[in-house]
């Protein structure tokens, strides 16, 4: 599939923004999150900017972004419609949460949890939009929605964790939560990669119906050049390059942050270097996540490629 930049940016940044809120929601359950106002503001702005920039970016891939409002109408059947609706509805409790949290109104906690539920709903809708596409075996997979969720949570947790390093203060349970979510992300991803390497839904034989056991090869496609289908659905990446990029993701998003978090005490002496290091860790992790999303698209084969020379998908 074509790795659309706007969609990759959307999933990573909106996901991270939602992740921050999910992380806070978790922390609110287990501890007190009545932080210093500046720190709150910092988290609020970051999560808000991440969410909004991602959502705005997602409309960039639309042919008619000005018509995006129309996408609310089909919530009965369309996951994309539901996603849009959920994303918009999320803003309602979110804004109240921001306000109450900043004002130390204790009711913020209800709005935080309801925001989190809506964030999870939005993420779920996004995941389901992909997971229900039978045409793309790599996505038509029970792990896709959980991966969307864990990606979001671990990136949110890591963001909050890195911010605590800048502010040089500790939040209980965050350390374990971050490491656990990052590890889970890595674990699920590895299983996902294994599953998609095995999965086949359709073959050139079923696509053409020209004999179950015949060897079917494309002699000539409909155009000697490109067309919409080949640019949108048929994108190839060399196996070596894909493996290298997977490794980059694993290191940048999972191994490096965990290593930094665990080994922080033994590695960092100077506080400036500490802040800088965690800033870089966050940036690298985001880059790693962008790479992961890129691979999610580019490695996903669409069954239409069976009409363009692929033997099985």
């Amino acid at each position: 599939m074509h790795p659309s930049k706007s969609i990759i940016f959307f999933t990573v940044f909106t996901g991270t923004g939602y992740g921050i809120l999910l992380c806070l929601s978790y922390l609110a359950f287990v501890t007190n999150i009545n932080f210093d106002n500046n720190f709150k503001l910092f988290l609020m702005i970051t999560s808000f900017v991440f969410i909004c920039s991602g959502l705005l970016s997602s409309t960039l891939h639309l042919g008619h972004p000005e018509r995006a409002w129309r996408s609310f109408s089909q919530w009965k059947s369309s996951w994309l419609s539901r996603e849009g609706l959920a994303a918009v509805v999320t803003f309602l409790p979110l804004m109240i949460f921001y306000l109450f949290w900043y004002l130390d109104n204790i009711f913020y906690i209800y709005f935080l949890h309801s925001t989190s539920i809506l964030c999870l709903t939005t993420i779920y809708c996004t995941g389901q939009m992909y997971a229900t596409l039978k045409t793309i075996p790599a996505w038509n997979n029970k792990l896709v929605t959980p991966i969307y969720t864990i990606n979001s949570i671990c990136m949110g947790a890591l963001t909050v964790y890195c911010f605590t390093r800048f502010y040089e203060f500790e939040i209980n349970y965050l350390y374990h939560f971050t490491i656990l979510s990052l590890s889970l992300c890595l674990f699920m991803k590895v299983i996902y990669w294994y599953i998609i390497s095995k999965k086949i839904i359709s073959t050139a034989n079923s696509a053409t119906g020209l004999g179950r056991n015949n060897n079917i090869s494309l002699f000539e496609g409909p155009h000697t050049g490109k067309n919409f289908l080949t640019t949108e659905m048929i994108n190839k990446i060399k196996k070596e390059k894909a493996n290298f990029l997977r490794l980059c993701f694993v290191i940048l998003t999972c191994i490096l942050p965990i290593y930094m978090i665990v080994q922080e005490a033994s590695l960092i002496i100077d506080s400036v270097i500490l802040k800088l290091s965690f800033f870089l860790v966050l940036i690298f992790a985001l880059i790693g996540m962008l790479i992961e999303r890129y691979l999610f698209f580019i490695q996903a084969k669409h069954v239409v490629s069976l009409y363009y020379g692929e033997k099985k998908v």
């Binding site: 042919g63 008619h64 000005e66 018509r67 409002w69 129309r70 609310f72 109408s73 089909q74 050049g225």
Partner: protein, 976 residues
């Protein structure tokens, strides 16, 4: 506005399609289908097939369907051009038509006043040869032909010298009745829609079989029930082997041979004498047969004689033998046994034998009968047409070889042995064929005089050496050496030799080369690079170009345009009058005689004129007889339209056959001023359906022959006898042996003796043979196939068609790939004896193991056709033409180099090409083909990067937009 509301579309299902539907004839290829052009606001909304048209019955191919984009082509020429810079540089100034006509008139009148043959007038994809040939005649030059010499002449000549009709578009399969169809060497081509319709019909019948004989399994071959992946140029051997099998098992239609062919005619067996191999004739010059019952020699005219097929008899003290004995003896030679030829054609002996058995079973055990009373020419009444439902068709794969004439003749002989010509289920003639073998007239042009017509049409059919156009020293009279000893039966001329010969001054120099619609500086020439050099070569003595003046007319900026001195821009096919005439290449079917016109659908938006109008005006300006009245005023002041109606070739016979006289006469009749209007009202065609009793056995069918004679299609009202044994060929052979008035020059004697045979037989293609003689090994055959959606070089300027194919690969078989360690898209060198090219290859399965191939005419020169110079056509697309030499490799001891053509007809032997293939070194791969010519400069190139055709008709649908929310953001289609 409720964003949760489901907004439904109110689809407008009955939009307006047209203000007016105009009918005309398609020109996107040579098929000439009838089209309905829907016009809305004076623009083309839709082009579809005309349901009533005899050719296409409503269907339309990809090319025809892309007519709008041809009209929209950015490569359309816009104004007459006069060259200012060097030839080939593309530097022109735009001039007015008056100036252009004056220049052309001055150039041409100088020649006409001195030596008219200094004009070489050659037309390419011309559909008005009846006019252009006649113009050349009136001008007084013999140097005229269309492009048939590098296209179809082997088929036309072989057919007309054997059965009086031919393949190509001049005959068709009886699709309704045939049960077994063999298609030789045919990819998409002439008659393409009728063939597609026919194949659809044939394949849908339960008891039918379609066999395709073709080295490549694409297009029609893909749907064949059996594919015979033959080695190129060996079809003749395959046919020999089928004939061998049929003869040896006595699967021959003896009655048919006896009644309708010259099989029983007696031939002198008098070796070393001037009548050897000629027919014995009585004092009335009629051929003779031996009557088995009376045991005497008698006239062949009496069909009720029990005439002998075998034996040796005496006539005037000389041995005479029925021609069939000679033929069967030749064809039963064991060298034609399937086992003996199998290895040479890449088909197993079992397959050959099986096909022969299937053919025989179809012909002789599945005979069909159509109950209709008819009468043959001898007065014998029949109650039905009996047919052998085995049919054949052959095209370019047979034609484009140096043995094509003989191969095609062999196919006709096979058809005749089976009794399947013009019978139900067989191959059928289309009107005005059949003609008597050999049809008149002879080629004119023996005496060229200033200001004098040549006294006949430049192209014709020689029947003996006396008809050749050679001078007293037996040197060619024509610039293309047509009708000379090099290729005596070159009935379509040799356009492919004109530039070479004119450049060399062999046999003489010319002054003006006048060409129409022929891309000679690119895909229509062999050895393109050399041809371009010859067009630009300067004579050191005079400082002039060796070909001093070139006038060119075309509608589009082709590769040839920059090489002309004066460009006369033509219109598109939708902007002109045209005439598809029974005098030329009509649109008839086997059931009807039909002709057609084109009418202008659109006004040209540019300063261009239809070529035929220009030619007629030039004729008048030059004062050519036939183009001016007695008072020297133009005879056809209203141009081609005027000519189409008012010209008479013979009294009562003009370009159009329909609605003559008072509108009630067909074929012959007075000029009808209203004729064109009648055509327009009838959909731009006229279709004269034959009576049911005229439809088969036309060569002997009394009612058909009477009618054909009345129409002037045949000169004598006599049956047409299929010439299994060709006396004309023997006359040339005898000349080679030194008999007769005209004797070939010494160096051509052997060639004439060898290749002119009364009984055709296969011989190895020249290039392969000469390569072998010279000890060179070019182990692979290289041929092209026609992509069904492209016609020659025209398709690449078409925004839609070029999206389908804008580059081509060299297709190779798996064996070749393995041997050379090749993968898809690897770059390879392909080398012939004369040149080499670098191209990308792709591997496929359905190809003969010794053959590589590519699509025809996809490669374009950079900048031509107003394409971007980086277009794939020019950087990945390639031609095989660069590898094909116009002259053959010389034998070590030979002085004369021969043209790469059939020795009998001069047909260009495109498919004789032999190559070797090897992988490119890494450092040779730069992502571009070789050779890659410099970009053609073209100041008019200014292409839009977006095609929005159809947007102008959007309004027909706009009212269905939802007005309620029209104003709301996001509903205007224009917002982006």
């Amino acid at each position: 506005m409720n964003p949760f509301k489901n907004q439904t579309e109110n689809v407008k299902t009955s939009p307006k399609v047209s203000d007016e539907v105009k009918q005309t004839t398609c020109y996107m290829c040579a098929c000439r289908c009838g089209i309905d052009v829907h016009l809305l606001d004076n623009q083309i909304r839709y082009i579809e097939g005309n349901k009533n048209h005899p050719t296409n019955k409503g269907v339309l191919c990809a090319k025809g369907s892309a007519g709008i984009m041809q009209q929209n082509s950015p490569a359309k020429l816009t104004k007459p051009l006069l060259r200012t810079g060097e030839r080939g540089k593309g530097e022109f100034i735009e001039i007015e038509w008056s100036e252009a006509m004056e220049i052309a008139t001055t150039w041409l009148s100088e020649i006409r006043n001195t030596d008219p043959k200094k004009l070489a007038f050659f037309t390419g994809r011309d559909q008005s040869q009846s006019l252009t040939g006649w113009w050349a005649n009136q001008f007084g030059t013999c140097n005229f032909a269309a492009h048939g010499g590098f296209c179809s002449v082997n088929m036309a000549a072989a057919g007309l010298y054997t059965i009086g009709g031919s393949f190509w578009e001049f005959g068709e399969v009886d699709w309704d009745h045939t049960k077994y169809f063999i298609l030789f060497g045919c990819a998409e081509d002439h008659d393409s829609n009728p063939i597609k319709m026919g194949l659809g019909k044939l394949k849908s019948k339960k008891d039918s079989k379609f066999v395709s004989v073709n080295p490549i399994k694409t297009g029609y071959s893909a749907i064949a029930d059996e594919w015979i992946g033959i080695r190129p140029g060996t079809d003749g051997l395959f046919v020999h082997s089928l004939i061998y099998e049929l003869l040896k098992s006595n699967k021959v239609d003896w009655d048919y041979l006896k009644r309708y062919t010259n099989s029983n005619w007696l031939v002198y067996n008098n070796p070393g004498k001037e009548n050897h191999g000629l027919f014995a004739r009585d004092k009335n010059n009629l051929p003779l047969v031996f009557c088995n019952t009376k045991r005497t020699i008698t006239s062949a005219n009496d069909k009720n004689v029990n005439s002998a097929f075998f034996g040796t008899y005496k006539y005037n003290e000389i041995d005479v033998i029925p021609s069939f004995e000679l033929l069967s003896k030749e064809y039963l030679d064991t060298k034609y046994k399937p086992e003996n030829i199998s290895n040479s054609i890449d088909i197993s002996a079992d397959v050959i034998k099986r096909i022969a058995a299937e053919i025989a079973e179809t012909a002789f055990e599945k005979e069909i009968e159509i109950k209709i009373d008819w009468e043959d020419f001898d007065g014998k009444k029949h109650s039905s047409f009996k047919g052998r439902p085995i049919s054949m068709h052959a095209m370019r794969g047979i034609s484009a070889h140096s043995n094509g004439f003989s191969t095609c003749k062999l196919i006709h002989i096979l058809q005749t042995l089976l009794g399947s010509i013009d019978v139900p289920g067989g191959f059928r003639y289309k009107a005005p064929y059949p003609k008597h073998v050999v049809p008149g007239p002879k080629p004119a042009g023996k005496n060229i005089k200033a200001n004098t017509p040549i006294g006949g049409m430049p192209l014709g059919f020689p029947t003996s050496p006396d008809d050749l156009l050679t001078d007293e020293n037996e040197n060619p009279i024509r610039i293309d050496k047509a009708y000379s000893w090099e290729n005596p039966l070159s009935a379509h001329g040799l356009m492919h030799m004109v530039i070479n010969n004119a450049w060399k001054g062999d046999p003489y120099k010319i002054e003006v080369l006048f060409m129409y619609m022929a891309n000679m500086a690119w895909n229509s020439s062999m050895n393109t690079e050399e041809t371009i050099k010859k067009l630009t070569d300067i004579d050191e003595k005079t400082g002039e170009y060796k070909i001093p003046k070139i006038i060119y007319s075309d509608a589009y900026y082709s590769e040839t345009v920059p090489y002309a001195d004066l460009i006369l821009p033509d219109t598109t096919f939708l902007e002109r009058w045209d005439c598809i005439s029974l005098l030329d290449r009509p649109i008839s079917s086997a059931d009807s005689a039909a002709d057609a016109i084109r009418q202008p659908i659109l006004e040209p938006s540019r300063d261009v004129r239809p070529f035929q109008d220009v030619l007629i005006e030039l004729g008048a300006r030059l004062g050519l007889p036939g183009f001016v009245n007695d008072d020297l005023t133009p005879k056809y002041p209203d141009g081609y339209k005027d000519y189409i109606v008012n010209h008479e070739r013979q009294p009562g016979i003009g370009p159009l056959a329909g609605w003559r006289g008072n509108g009630d006469q067909f074929g012959k009749g007075n000029i009808n001023k209203n004729q064109i209007q009648e055509y327009i009202e009838n959909g731009c065609f006229h279709n004269h359906e034959f009576k049911n009793n005229q439809k088969y056995f036309k060569f002997t069918n009394k009612h058909y022959l009477n009618f054909a004679h009345e129409m002037g299609w045949i000169v004598k009202n006599e049956p047409i006898v299929i010439q299994m044994y060709s006396e004309e060929m023997q006359k040339f052979k005898l000349a080679g042996e030194g008999f007769g008035n005209k004797i070939p020059p010494e160096h051509l004697k052997e060639r004439i003796k060898k290749y002119f045979n009364p009984i055709p037989s296969w011989y190895q293609a020249f290039e392969e043979k000469l390569n072998a003689n010279n000890g060179n090994s070019f182990e692979l055959y290289a041929v092209t196939q026609r992509p069904p959606h492209m016609y020659h070089s025209w398709g690449s300027q078409n925004a839609w068609l070029r999206q389908i194919t804008n580059l081509n690969y060299l297709y190779i078989g798996e064996e070749v790939a393995t041997k050379n360690n090749l993968k898809n898209f690897d770059w390879v060198w392909l080398e012939s004896f004369s040149s080499k090219i670098k191209v990308q290859c792709k591997i496929m399965k359905g190809v003969n193991k010794n053959t590589v191939w590519t699509w025809n005419a996809i490669g374009k020169r950079k900048g031509a056709w107003n394409l971007n110079p980086n277009a794939p056509e020019s950087n990945k697309g390639f031609l095989l033409n660069h590898l094909i030499s116009d002259v053959l490799p010389k034998n070590k001891n030979e002085k004369h180099s021969m043209s790469n053509s059939d020795p009998i007809t001069g047909q260009a032997a495109w498919y004789d090409l032999k190559v070797k293939l090897y992988k490119c070194n890494k450092n040779e791969i730069d992502g571009n083909i070789y050779p890659n010519f410099e970009t053609i400069k073209n100041k008019s190139r200014n292409n839009s990067n977006l095609n929005v055709y159809g947007n102008q008709f959007r309004k027909e649908y706009s009212e269905n937009s939802i007005s309620e929310i029209q104003e709301f953001i996001g509903n205007s289609r224009n917002i982006k």
